[in-house]
Homo-oligomer: 680 residues x 2
Amino acid sequence: MKFLMEHEVKEILEEHGIKTARCKFVESEDEAVDAAREVGFPAVPVVMKVASRKIVHKSDTGGVVLGIRNEEEVRRAFRRLMAIEGAEGVNVQPMLEMGIEVIVGVSENQQFGSVIMFGLGGVFVEVLQDVSIRLLPLTRRDAVEMIKEVRGHKLIEGFRGYKGDFNALVDLLLKVSKVVEEENIIEMDLNPVFVYEKGYAVADARAVVGERKSFRRKLSRDELFRLFYPESVAVIGASRTVGKPGYNIVWNLKQHGFTGKVFPVNPNADRILDYRCYPSILDIPDDVDVAIIAVPARIVPEVMEQCAEKMVKGVVIVSSGFSEEGEVGAEYERKVLEIAKKNGIRVFGPNTTGVLNTDNSFITTFAKMPVIKVGKIGIVAQTGLFLGIMMAHVATNHPSIGFSKVVGMGNKADVEDYEVLDFLLDDRETRVIGMYVEGIKNGRAFYEVSKQAKKPIVVFKSGRSIYGQKAALSHTASICGDDEVFDAVCRQANITRVYSFEELFNVTKAFSLQPLPRGDRVALIHYTGSGCVQGADAIYFSNLKLAEPEKETIERISEVTPEWHMVNNPVDIWPMVEYNGIYRAYDTAITALLEDDNVDSIIVAIWAGVEIAEPTYSPDFKKIKEYGKPIYFVVEGMREAVFETKNNYELNEFPVYPDVITAISVLGKVTDYAKRLFRE
Amino acid sequence: MKFLMEHEVKEILEEHGIKTARCKFVESEDEAVDAAREVGFPAVPVVMKVASRKIVHKSDTGGVVLGIRNEEEVRRAFRRLMAIEGAEGVNVQPMLEMGIEVIVGVSENQQFGSVIMFGLGGVFVEVLQDVSIRLLPLTRRDAVEMIKEVRGHKLIEGFRGYKGDFNALVDLLLKVSKVVEEENIIEMDLNPVFVYEKGYAVADARAVVGERKSFRRKLSRDELFRLFYPESVAVIGASRTVGKPGYNIVWNLKQHGFTGKVFPVNPNADRILDYRCYPSILDIPDDVDVAIIAVPARIVPEVMEQCAEKMVKGVVIVSSGFSEEGEVGAEYERKVLEIAKKNGIRVFGPNTTGVLNTDNSFITTFAKMPVIKVGKIGIVAQTGLFLGIMMAHVATNHPSIGFSKVVGMGNKADVEDYEVLDFLLDDRETRVIGMYVEGIKNGRAFYEVSKQAKKPIVVFKSGRSIYGQKAALSHTASICGDDEVFDAVCRQANITRVYSFEELFNVTKAFSLQPLPRGDRVALIHYTGSGCVQGADAIYFSNLKLAEPEKETIERISEVTPEWHMVNNPVDIWPMVEYNGIYRAYDTAITALLEDDNVDSIIVAIWAGVEIAEPTYSPDFKKIKEYGKPIYFVVEGMREAVFETKNNYELNEFPVYPDVITAISVLGKVTDYAKRLFRE
């Protein structure tokens, strides 16, 4: 690591085409006078600054002298500056014309590597914390977005005599990105930079060069394939006792209908359920692809040695008692990892529910799990218990939501999030990936894999606040990192960020069932006027547009409504239902909007249950699917009727939400993803 | 209305003790020179400004000359300013020392009357829209809050050489509040005001005086009492045909067990259900307190005349076809109102589901309605269909939530929101009021009633965005008003604002069942580590504090957990459940936290259903209630088990939420209410 002095930094910047207030580094009064003359003095006033690798805030120590106009002042300033403790010399530079003050900073993030920060100077950064952040390197779009993201950017667009050169600023950010990569910059501060109507100039700069943090990235799709698609599985620690984890694992494999061979391992049993039992994995007469390990932590290293001997390709360690339970457990974990590395065995866990693959019904979970519907959602979650519980919750509360693969990561001793993410991105059965994370171990790899994704990735990250970070640390020793950086990662990699488990399922469901909208113009059909008002608000606040249907569309819908009723978007469908019945009303409105080129997506709210509108409306799913335009439904009403209707709709691939605000908020996230995707 | 000139405004302000840069209004060069001398020139430089009732933005027209130091400059400036079109004279004032620039504005709002706006000048107001708003008159607390609410207030607290006199600013706002009341100010702009380390000075000012908007307020508790507690009810338009609205009304009265007399009116029927039928209301041999009117709109005026003759005290008009359906309907509505006013009949609706009173089982709804549980929540909702539907939804999905009175307001031709609100605030059976509103007709009355409330009021207002406002206008012709003003109303009147129907029920439920927290320190018990992390985040983002339990509390809980497990808040209870069973684990942790003075409220998450933790935990409700400390529960798990468990808990007066984030967000709102209440 090497701290560069201002003139050194500016030299490097200039070499890369970045405009600076070039400064001369001088070590004597006479040199100072010469330097002042060289930069234009006395016509141009000069600034003199103390030069030191030790002084970060020059102004605070009186290390900056402005507006110097004659030789005597130069000499006096030099003497004063050299008297400052730590002074190594003095920089002389022409005094810049004032412009809009901005700040560009570069630093290294533990999880994600080089990060760039941009903000307007003065109150914007210091009072309002009005900054934007991105990972390096930047694309042009990143640079444009990060400038527009700060609230104060209106000053650059022009305000009260201020105006800044937007394009020059974009250029500056892109060049900084390049400098960081090429010159091994670990840390850099350009503060302030003056932005003018034409161009800009870096007034002050400091930097640290050195070895930048590097991140390895394993390509492990084939290795993971074997863990998801084993032909034969050993369950080490299988149990005959109903309800025990070692029993449940075998029960789940049988109940879900795992397509491969199952070999329970237990020295004290002959058979477990329908399967023949073996005293040890070494006694199994067949090859074993994957071992599910459910024995106490202290025995696991020994079992791992046997797995190695048996040439097992992967293991899922469901047992707890490892690093999450203190030092003794951490030692077991280290041993396990060592054996795994030596023998090329990939490990899920420990302390995890492991894998659920609905494609071959492979399941390693130790709690009895209802059969999960086959579908297109892949799930990766940090913690095992949470995931197990949530999948049981989903299976009973939302039985119509289908999954391709579900993975509980546990302690992530070996296999990491980004590897599973990469595997799922390549998996034919998976259309969208939902993730729950607290800390991300190798954030840079996660970012790079995400950035290349051709499928939507939806992430619920907790550990966002100081409270949550503390709780995560005591829970899985996860380092959560800076939430603002993670936000930047999501924007740059077009990751959809959500803020609850429910939202994770709501959004992945939409992605998995419906096509992407081609634009942001939304039509809404609701059976109450209030629903229309609430929905219109939600459209606005979800950054969508209220579609303006074609004249013909309004006319078509108006044919089924009473004369006094003015049709509009949102469509208040109640008068139509009263006058023409539920089928004619909804069918007419939905078809008209599907055929309207001014409409990109449709939200339809219906009531399920007796008395208000009977029977419950059910569209011609096949027909409305043909238009290839996304429709999300809202079903409200009586508890059982809602449940049945929702299941019916979702089995027909139309997602259902409990209220119009939720549905539109999901559509907002999906549309945002689509807009960024299509823009690329 | 009269526009005041700068010197007139400043005179008024000075009379009320507000410090201004006093200016002299002059009409000749000589007067100008005298005035300049008077204010301190040539020692103090002066500012001269064009004086005109027509010119609002003086700077834009070159109407301000700064830094005038000698007589010649005074004369030249005078001539230049008088040449500006519309000039009536010139103001001469001493040039002020620069300070922190702030803006104080007063205007009149259609719904709520006088409103005051505060912001920092320059980029803060114009680029960042960083302003705060309150209704006038202000209390000291309002003034303090509105200064602290703007993001730029840190400048006043002290930043980079800036510092402003906070107390002087509070004083200024309070005095402005007084001026507006006493001088009949309709509009006023103090812009800029310079705030100094000591004191402030109003540099420029304009104002309009005139007749301020006045708001009537009816006191109608007794009148409304008769509408909620009739002893006899006529159903005009009662029907024998099953499923018709006129049938359902009678069916509901019977099914819910209305305690008064019921007289169906239908010339073609002898009996409907168990009740004897009459050809007209005039044929009923008994007194009639309330008539429920369900005949077509065009007949309603005639029916109203009959009601007047029968000396009916109130009517609920459930029929639609009035002002919401255009001009013809609006004419019917006017006639109805005229008859009502003349005869002292109070009217709910038209176009409404009307009243539901669980105290006497009085119900006027025209859709078959499941019986609603008796409880302490009062609901007022703008629209009838929406309310009817939502109550049916609540009755089947959340049968454990209890209500006192539920009112659908409909077109609000006569009875308005604030009257019902006022009635419910006085109603013994009601502990909390939940409201759904789009537009508020008499906002000032609503505000004043709310401000005096001794019960929590929770409001879901839609029509917040331009889209929603347009939809509301076409739906009920409601003027929604400015959302920022409504936000100010909520803050000033300690109204809890929510953003969905679900949230309205979640929050009113908590208020209705549990005591208020005495502070903001929250303890959380969760059965997964991830739940703890998510909950900790939610505590942070809900503006709550993570409680720091006493040492003794941690020790007590640690006794039931394995040695490796470090107990902390949030309490990850899973290891305790595994080692000591669900009852010992939860009972120990809950009791310890209830007895801890560092804990103000507790969130407890449990799992309901088989396999993960059996049996489902159920606390000793009576015992934990005795502590008088709020506990909210989170129940996740298998669908039916969750439903049953939730109902069981809530019937025992402990509210249940579907996830930890929702529960904590509710607690955040309740705690915010309590903090404001206790501070008063």
